[in-house]
């Protein structure tokens, strides 16, 4: 037996094998190690005889009951997002897909409707497909006077308006 093997043999102190006994007779270092280990084990006898706090038993049983009761109560009353996992996942996926479709659709819809040509101040332009009038910021006199549109009905600004119908006659 070698000194390095001591740890393996030492742990069962009462079952000291012959091999270890022979080694200890000749190796002082290992003998001191064995004595040290035995001393600690023996001193721990005090810990082996310690009695728990007399109130511990009752406190523990009562404490476990009350904590389980409280936990159960709060489980019932607590709303947990994790409970919605089965529901939330497909709903969120569908909502995300719908949002993407709506955003993409509105982008292309808007892009189609934006006139390529600039709106001139004296022109009322009509979109080819929607027939919606585009009114310039400053409506010229002739536009107002030559139509049946009252000035207050004309919406000014760069917005397309669906609120007025223009009838252009003559030139």
């Amino acid at each position: 037996m070698k000194c390095e093997d001591l740890a393996e043999y030492l742990l069962d102190l009462d079952k000291c094998p012959d091999e270890l006994r022979d080694h200890l007779e000749t190796c002082e270092k290992c003998r001191a190690e064995v004595d040290g280990q035995r001393f600690v084990y023996r001193m721990l006898a005090i810990k082996r005889h310690e009695l728990p706090d007399p109130d511990a038993e009752a406190d523990i049983v009562a404490g476990v009951r009350s904590k389980l009761f409280r936990a159960e109560k709060s489980e019932l009353s607590r709303f947990r997002f994790s409970d919605l996992r089965w529901f939330a996942k497909p709903v969120l996926q569908t909502a995300a897909a719908a949002l993407i479709i709506v955003l993409a659709g509105s982008y292309f819809f808007e892009a189609d409707n934006i006139p390529d040509e600039p709106v001139l101040s004296h022109q009322a332009k009509f979109h080819h497909e929607l027939d919606l009038p585009l009114i310039s910021r400053t409506a010229p006199e002739w536009l107002v006077s030559d139509t049946n549109v009252a000035p207050e009905q004309i919406q000014y600004g760069p917005l397309r308006s669906r609120l007025v119908e223009l009838q252009l006659e003559g030139e």
């Binding site: 742990l11 084990y41 009695l51 404490g63 476990v64």
Partner: protein
Amino acid sequence: MTDEAKADVEQEKKDLGRAREGDLEAYNRLVERYQGKIYAIAYNMTGNNEDAKDLTQDIFVKAFRNLKRFKGDSSFYTWIYRIAVNHTINFLKKRNRHNFYSLDDVDQGVEKDPDYIELVSNSEPFRNAELSELQKKLNEAIQKLSDKHRAAVIMHDIEGLPHEEIAKILGCSEGTVRSRLFYARRQLQNFLQEYQT
């Protein structure tokens, strides 16, 4: 196994089955059966009575909530002991300082313990010291060990668990348990050498 022991094992199985279904009375019987052991590991690991009581309660609550995960591959005792050790080690990691140690009483039987008698007869410093002083020094020395070394010493040298069981609880090999035990005792010897002749 005696008839009584067999009946005990059967009762535990029944209680486990019922507790899994949510029967708190059945679970209380399990708590009553193992609370002493779980309290002991928590007390020896923390060195504090109040912490040990709180931890023991939390360990049993945690075990109850995870009972459905207990497959029965090991005994219930090993399983809950593993929860106890891990939970206590986590608690100690969060607790920054060991601010207060408490001392549990020592039973009269210690004076008849062969290991104690051996020390009293061979070590003068040990013989001259008060029991409460020795107890305090022991607690302080144990608290100086790393959590893993402390767990090994408590389970083997205080609670008397075999290496195989400790290895299962700590999730390591028996060789690792032996090594931890050896080095833990060596450190304890250094801390307590004033009582060694």
